[in-house]
Amino acid sequence: MSMGAAETPVGVKLVSHFATVEQQKRAAVLGMWAWLLTELLLFAGLFLTALILRLLHPEAVQEAARHLKFWIGATNTVVLIGSSLTMSGAIQLSRLGWPRGMVRFMLATAALGTLFLGLKGYEYYADYQEHMMPFLGDRPYELKDSPPSRLFVNLYYVATSLHGLHLMTGITILLVMTWQASRPGFLAAHQNRIEIFGLYWHFIDLIWILAFPILYVLNR
């Protein structure tokens, strides 16, 4: 079937308080970057905590890190890199004015994001089975001989669940936008929404690119 036979017009509709479309687009891009700044510092606080834990209790942190599901983490990184690729595809097609292909790429992105969450959920489940959830007070803890290891494992849950929350938000917005984009006229009025959302999605990816080595790899 044909994707681009009828290229739809691409553009951004001017909102009244802006003078020009150019200004409106610049404001949107800058706004998203400003938001991403705050996201970076948010996770930086967690990464700093991980580093301090490593400095205070090197052996315990190493032991805890060896109990994380390294291969699931690695697979999930591959999944997210893939989702970044499909998101880039959606952005490219939005610029070309090929809405149907774009929608497919967006759905693929959401699907990969969901796959990530599914794998993450499975990882949590496996952790639960292996008694690696020290914050559950009434459940025995695998590494109970090394109390400081609890801290790192718990921090891992805080960091990954916060990242998961961001991903879940991303998927929700993406699905809503996919639904909007599947109706005619979207690209003519709101093409830059795809680009702005793309920045967010890539950045969540970037955070994971940092979180994976910091949590799983560096401390082994």
Partner: protein, 99 residues
């Protein structure tokens, strides 16, 4: 799944950069995973950290297209990392000099 050759060519022209970016990211991830799985030498974390940094820069410059953006956006993309640097450095000044 894409219709005409023409369309495929346009598509590839636009997708080449994202695909190459993803390929580079996967390659770097491969290095890190291999290093993490085998731990070939002590202080391998330095290399792992460098590879992770390279991945971050790749995402910023290529996936997020910062290199095509005006200087202001480049500044905003960089300033956050600078501030993370302040946070880490000044906190480590305390922790590394504790007796």
């Amino acid at each position: 799944m894409f219709g005409t050759d023409d369309e495929r060519r346009i598509l590839w022209r636009h997708m080449r950069e994202p695909v190459l970016t993803a390929g580079a990211l996967l390659a770097m991830l491969g290095i890190n995973v291999a290093l993490g799985a085998t731990l070939p030498f002590p202080h391998v974390w330095i290399v792992e950290l460098l590879v992770a940094s390279a991945m971050v820069v790749t995402i910023l410059l290529f996936s997020m297209e910062v290199r095509h953006e005006p200087p202001l956006v480049k500044l905003f993309a960089g300033i956050g990392f600078f501030w993370v640097g302040i946070l880490f450095t000044m906190t480590l000044v305390d922790y590394l000099s504790r007796s």
